[in-house]
Symmetry: C2
Subunit: 283 residues, 2 copies
Amino acid sequence: MTPALPDLSIRQLDYLVAVSTEPSWADAAARIGVSPSALSQGLSELERRIGVPMFDREGRRRTLRPTAEPVLAHARQVIALTSDLADWAERTRTGRAGELRVGMIDAAAVGHFTDVLRQFRDDHPELHLTLRVAPSGELLDEIESGDLDLAVVVGGHTRRGVHTESLMTEPLAVFTPTRGLPRDFAAWGPWVLFAQGSRTRAIAEEALQRLGAPTTIVAESNQPEVLRTMVELRVGSTVLPVVQAGPDFGPGRVIAERTLVLARRDGAAVDPAAEMLAVALRN
Amino acid sequence: MTPALPDLSIRQLDYLVAVSTEPSWADAAARIGVSPSALSQGLSELERRIGVPMFDREGRRRTLRPTAEPVLAHARQVIALTSDLADWAERTRTGRAGELRVGMIDAAAVGHFTDVLRQFRDDHPELHLTLRVAPSGELLDEIESGDLDLAVVVGGHTRRGVHTESLMTEPLAVFTPTRGLPRDFAAWGPWVLFAQGSRTRAIAEEALQRLGAPTTIVAESNQPEVLRTMVELRVGSTVLPVVQAGPDFGPGRVIAERTLVLARRDGAAVDPAAEMLAVALRN
DNA sequence: CAGTTAGTGAAGCAATTCTAAACTATTCTG
DNA sequence: CAGAATAGTTTAGAATTGCTTCACTAACTG
């Protein structure tokens, strides 16, 4: 068992180092910016806590006795360490260093927030930023487990322990192999959609049902690239965020919209770097 | 210029390490011996001073976030250093380590306090004890300049900045080449005495004058060995502390006494080791 | 000797840090 | 699922710490 450490404070050690450097205690006090009395009392207290006499009296001056050398060495070392820590804290606080794990759905990463990400990377070169692109569900799992600090996902999920905040809404549109859509909703389809379980898939199906269109599914994938190819091969029509439709199709027929939200672990302390990215994402 | 260090205390760092070791904060608080409330508040304060969020909330527990690893490392290191310092302080305080420079006149070192010195050396094997044997005047110079921590010298000197304390008195006696002394003091002498400037020499001369004996000096030396030899060679009589007379002479005729005093630098902090030796010297 | 300088001690005040107790939220348990 | 137990926080109040100011002592300086 440790025999109860003396409760020394950085400040007291700082006094000691100052006194060892400056010609007089008064100068030391002035440099630190406290009254001579405070310095005197502080050093007395330090001496008392360590329990070993450290100062001699030389005329009216006080001198550090050589015996106290180990204490001075200790003080210097601890102050150096603390100074390093303060630097680290400063860098972390300003988001200039540290680690930040971000997740985004593909539309966010490659579509809406590409520029924001690039800019953020440029602004924080020392920050170790890892970006994970995956469907909302997976990202939310990782937010929940603490593997991600921040994620941009499709809104509408409810997940305990995860806090969300709306970022933007974007339109979902129907894209067909043929130019133009039948006037009669019942003639729409069949469909090539995002995979079962996807929130965007659910939004699309719901919209189609509301319009009275059939919801026959002939193929599914989570990769918009795959969906587009299917449409080109005339397997069926699809519902995609317009940013992901690509230039080969027409403007598409908007039938719904989805919300992109910023997700963070609930109760997690706000990481400064995460907060800075969040600000950037909100524009 | 350093950007003002956060005033962290050992105690706060200790909280952090405890929390990282124990399964719950309550356990950590119990181990340290403080209320859970104090721990909670202390860690909040630490977090605030460092300025970087360090804890997450996991259900009702709080966990150290990986980001705070550098702080924990710092805490461990500073605590280890402080623990070393505490050990050093403990050893120094109990006189088990450190340095002690002692001066003694020969009669004290070889006569009265030989056993005390041997015992003290045995009791404090780790203590670096240096013993300097020299006449009182020299020793007092060195006490004054700080080269010695402690000295046993002949009393009667007054030296500013040096504090003295009586240890013992010892008799000074006349020793002659012949057995027995003349009844008539005027027939005493001639003398072989300690060198001019010696305090013991002054005491002896004064005593002889008081008795009405002549004080013709035919030889002088500060080495009692030399004085004894002179007496054996019948150069003259001498006045010596009885401990230094040796067995070859009779008991001697006591004519005065001198005091041995413990001398220390005035205003010097009391070195624990010095204090322990002082206690031993006082018996 | 008067004046200045270095450091200390006392009083008062503000900030810190503790305990105790009430409180919130979460988890366990029958 | 209700109720108890648990983990941590908050609040109020007391104790401690640490600072400033001011008076003071001792030691240099001219």
